[in-house]
């Protein structure tokens, strides 16, 4: 009898997966219907939009826009009525899993609950219908909100200056590396390298390359922190910056951070904090106090923005005094009379602008509302609870450590990494298979195969907004899948069974890319 068979519950979908080569129930006409795109629906002459009447004297359009500048055929957009559009997209939406309906422990992404209050306040006309070129004197509420958010982020990060401009985390990273470059160049130094640990998120090295610098990898010590000897060997005067997450992507807080900072600062380089994991430490410790010069925030993670199926996000940065002269423009300034302004001039060393307008203001409204709701105590509670939930789930999963051991046998922060290597060896199922079988149990799987350092990695981040019951149910599902695999590993290998589609041919998709709907010619032929 299996060691785990007492916890075995089997698939929850109510129908047995059916073992090897299982086929789902026959596809219904309804399922086929949903896989048609909007371009394959409708009919010539259907419409949803009715244009306002032409209320000005009509001038021959050829006089206004010469023929040679005109398109000869309308763009082949759909021809559909409003009810068709609504039904099409509502049905499509039902083919998505989402955070509002279920547990989403996607490590490194902080999928915490999105309060609906935020949608309501962001939708107020004074915010949502404010034009970005509105005169600052008539956008005082917005500028004050941004200024207050800057001050809050400064306090949370322990760094004095903030720019809200970057559009997401990786954009904040680009800002940070460009700032670091500008700082060194202003001192007459050409530094060409950026150190990134081998646990770093892919955006870190990609950013370094975009900023025209060279990536140098730093190793990880057996306890999951930065390998100090390797760091010492690589830190020299050619290094512009070290990019670090702390806690890092292994869920480990690097206790040597002070020493790391000393090594990096000792060679005149700057220290960059990838704030994707800020959710572990809000109100507990601050990047600025650890010695970081530049921090990015992922407002969509730590400060709970709906992730939108892949954005929008927002990636403000906070910097130390020595980096401030190079910060992007425009900047929000508070004038002596207490009013606010946007200022472009007077920052000769600024790296300039990294996007249009003032940043993703709609995200600022939500993040600011969140900070107002939680306050200092609530933010600290969020981090403490996130860490408690992660450690609890890790403890619950100790029961399956034989197959899925923690990558590091230590207390984790807000997330933790398991290795599926023994599971693969002993049960013949990979981390990917486990993830796919979890779909049948109604859970979004953790992040898989990241960080790269850990074989068959599963990065699990439950967040603070989940209940104990949810964490228990997730742990039970993992145990059930492993117990099932002890009996018949093919079940997981062919999973999922209950999803709108089953495993998709990704290799084929990349080999013969079809990235748009082929449409008939405009004349209908």
């Amino acid at each position: 009898m299996s060691a785990l068979s007492d916890t075995r519950t089997g698939a929850r979908d109510g129908r047995p997966p059916g073992g090897t080569g299982a086929r789902p129930l026959a596809e219904t006409a309804q399922q086929r219907e949903r896989a048609r795109t909007i371009f394959e629906k409708g009919a010539p002459g259907r419409r949803a939009f009715e244009p306002p009447a032409l209320d000005v004297p009509r001038v021959d359009p050829d006089r206004l826009l010469p023929q040679r500048f005109r398109r000869s055929e309308p763009a082949r957009l759909p021809e559909v009525s409003e009810p068709e559009i609504v039904r099409h997209y509502v049905n499509l939406s039902k083919r998505n899993f989402d955070l509002d309906s279920g547990f989403y422990p996607l490590g490194s992404c902080t999928m915490k609950h999105n309060p609906r209050l935020h949608e309501r306040v962001a939708g107020l006309a004074g915010h949502a219908r404010l034009h970005p070129f509105q005169h600052p004197g008539r956008a005082q509420g917005a500028l004050e909100l941004m200024w207050r958010l800057e001050r809050a982020l400064s306090e949370i990060s322990g760094l004095p200056h903030v720019s809200l401009q970057p559009s997401a985390g990786s954009h904040g990273e680009l800002a940070g590396v460009l700032l670091s470059r500008a700082y060194h160049e202003d001192r007459g130094e050409t530094r060409t390298k950026v150190l990134t640990p081998d646990t770093a998120h892919g955006t870190n090295p990609a950013t370094v390359a975009m900023a025209g610098l060279e990536v140098v990898k730093v190793g990880t010590s057996p306890d999951g922190g930065v390998d100090l000897d390797d760091l010492r060997a690589k830190a020299d005067e050619s290094v512009a910056c070290l990019m670090l997450t702390n806690p890092n992507t292994l869920g480990v807080f690097d206790s040597n951070i002070r020493e790391i900072a000393d090594i990096v600062h000792g060679v005149g380089a700057t220290l960059y904090y990838d704030g994707a994991n800020l959710n572990a430490i809000m109100g507990i410790t601050r990047p600025g106090d650890m010695g970081f010069d530049i921090v990015h925030f992922n407002l969509h993670k730590s400060f709970t923005q709906p992730h939108g199926g892949g954005g929008p996000g927002s990636g403000p940065i906070a910097v130390s005094d020595r980096i401030e002269p190079y910060l992007m423009t425009p900047r929000i300034v508070r004038l002596e009379d207490g009013s606010f302004d946007l200022r472009e001039d007077g920052y000769p060393k600024s790296i300039g602008r990294l996007r249009g307008f003032q940043g993703n203001y709609g995200c600022f409204v939500r993040a600011y509302a969140y900070i107002c709701s939680l306050g200092a105590e609530g933010l600290r509670d969020a981090s403490e609870t996130a860490v408690l939930n992660a450690n609890y789930l890790m403890a619950r999963l100790r029961a399956v450590a034989r197959y899925l051991p923690p990558a590091y046998e230590r207390t984790c922060m807000h997330e933790f990494v398991l290795s599926g290597a023994p599971m693969k060896r002993e049960l013949g199922i990979k981390t990917l298979d486990l993830a796919k079988r979890l779909l049948d149990h109604g859970f979004h799987p953790p992040t898989v195969y990241f960080p790269l350092l850990v074989e068959e990695a599963l990065l699990i981040e439950p967040t603070e907004t989940e209940t104990r019951e949810t964490l228990d149910a997730f742990a039970d599902a993992i145990r059930a899948i492993l117990a099932e695999a002890e009996e018949d590993s093919e079940i997981a290998r062919a999973a999922p069974y209950t999803t709108p589609v089953r495993r998709l041919d990704e290799a084929g998709a990349a080999k013969r890319p079809v990235v748009r709907q082929a449409l008939p010619a405009a004349d209908g032929s």
């Binding site: 795109t37 955070l99 107020l124 998120h201 929008p312 408690l388 979004h444 709108p500």
Partner: protein, 441 residues
């Protein structure tokens, strides 16, 4: 305990026992004492939901939005009507709250939306490939610069002065990073000076960039600008103007980018919106960002996945074509829903209406004593006029009468005036009346 966490004291006790520690404090033992913040964060006390709402509403009320005045502001973002169905679909949990579709089996909705969005952008631009969105307009242009750098080598960038100033500044900041020199070609009577353009482009040019209609609203001769031998031709387009403009794919443009806000997105004081990014087939593998592709599942059913991921940062790391990860999927959803709502004929009708009203507005304003067109080029939805009085003062005078006459272009002492379908003839007449008095004052 905050209202968004759900652990009761008894839960905490039981969970700590399961972990084998006696306090939450112990879980943070790895953080050295000297790094602990030994005081509460210096932030205001948390507030109940209704108080936060009241506070955020109070801040909103101190902004003058497009609901509060008659606004002719444009310059990249426009006050188009957003149909109710866009709001409804964007606020559905299933679109609003998931993340990037890493697990395609449970993300077919989002992936198909991306595929449809890409199709719509390809149709608008007459270019064969599109990604699933980038951050917004200016970064889209700068990312095209990085594509040109990867594809075309180390040469310099030649940029029309008609490109939106934010795009130009963004391109400059990005290019300083990856090491491309930027040369700007001036305008002549509102459009890129073709002679200077041809002179500036040489064998050492990696890419050229122009915008259509350009920042001053003028329609550029895209075919003439694109007729340069060698460099990657990048053009930023207004998606609404593409309803009637010859599509960039038919003008010799290699990469077409643009600000997606006019397509069903709110103004939001500048974001979030989305940037679109389409290109010729040969650049498919150098595109930034996510791309959805069609495929089949093991049972042969049609499905969609993120494809060509070997371009991306999570696989290729420093060799990636871009660092972008979180993009603007929800805003792109609004874009494709909006385009479906407009439909094949609606987009043309909308652009034609803007063409007529914009012409009317230009004529009407230029009939005011001392007000002159800044240029005489064709315009579609926006135009610039020079004023006989200091523009900043004129804008202030108009504001006191509830009219925002447009964007002040200080250097030219001009106004950039934008028209949408929400600005009727009566609105334009009112603008003319208020402006006449403001310039005469």
């Amino acid at each position: 305990m905050s209202r968004y966490t759900a652990l009761a004291p008894a839960d905490r006790e039981a969970m700590l026992a399961e972990i084998g520690v006696s306090s939450v404090e112990e879980l943070f033992a790895a953080i050295p004492a000297e790094l602990r913040l030994e005081r509460p964060l210096d932030l205001p006390q948390g507030m109940p939901e209704q108080d936060v709402f009241a506070h955020l509403r109070e801040l909103a009320e101190r902004n003058v939005s497009c609901d509060d005045e008659l606004s002719f502001l444009g310059g990249g973002m426009y006050d188009h009507y957003v149909p109710a169905l866009v709001d409804m679909l964007m606020s559905r949990s299933e679109f609003l709250t998931p993340y990037t579709p890493y697990q395609p089996e449970i993300s077919q909705g989002g992936l198909q939306v991306m595929f449809e969005y890409q199709t719509a952008i390809c149709e608008l631009t007459a270019l064969p490939v599109s990604n699933a969105s980038v951050y917004e307009g200016p970064t889209a242009l700068a990312s095209a610069g990085y594509l040109a750098r990867l594809a075309g080598g180390e040469g310099r960038f030649v940029v029309s002065a008609g490109v939106h100033p934010h795009s130009l500044e963004t391109l400059r900041a990005y290019a300083r990073g990856f090491g491309a020199e930027v040369a700007v070609v001036p305008l002549r009577d509102g459009v890129t000076d073709l002679g200077a353009w041809r002179e500036a482009v040489d064998g050492a040019t990696a890419a050229v960039f122009f915008q259509n209609p350009n920042f001053l609203g003028a329609v550029e001769d895209a075919q003439a600008l694109a007729a340069v031998e060698g460099p990657v031709v990048v053009a930023a387009y207004d998606p609404i103007a593409l309803g009637i403009l010859k599509p960039p794919g038919e003008c010799g443009v290699d990469v077409c980018v643009g600000e997606g806000q006019p397509l069903g997105n709110r103004l939001d004081f500048g974001g979030p919106s989305f940037g679109f990014f389409a290109a010729r087939e040969e650049y498919l593998r150098q595109m930034p960002g996510r791309i959805a592709g069609e495929t089949v599942d093991v049972d042969g059913r049609r499905g969609f996945v993120l494809t060509l991921q070997t371009r991306e940062q999570h696989i290729r790391r420093e060799k990636a074509t871009s660092n972008i990860c979180t993009a603007q999927a929800l805003n792109a959803l609004a874009g494709v829903v909006y385009l479906s709502w407009l439909g094949r004929r609606g987009l043309v009708e909308l652009a034609e209406l803007l063409l007529q009203r914009t012409h009317y507005a230009r004529e009407t304003l230029c009939a005011i004593d001392g007000v002159e067109p800044l240029h005489t080029q064709p315009v579609i939805r926006e135009f610039a006029v020079r004023l006989p009085a200091p523009v900043a003062e004129v804008v202030e005078r108009c504001a006191t009468r509830g009219v925002n006459p447009g964007l002040a272009l200080r250097e030219e002492n001009a106004l950039l005036v934008a028209i949408t379908e929400q600005r009727s003839r009566a609105d334009i007449d009112r603008l003319a009346e208020v402006l006449r008095e403001a310039v005469a004052a």
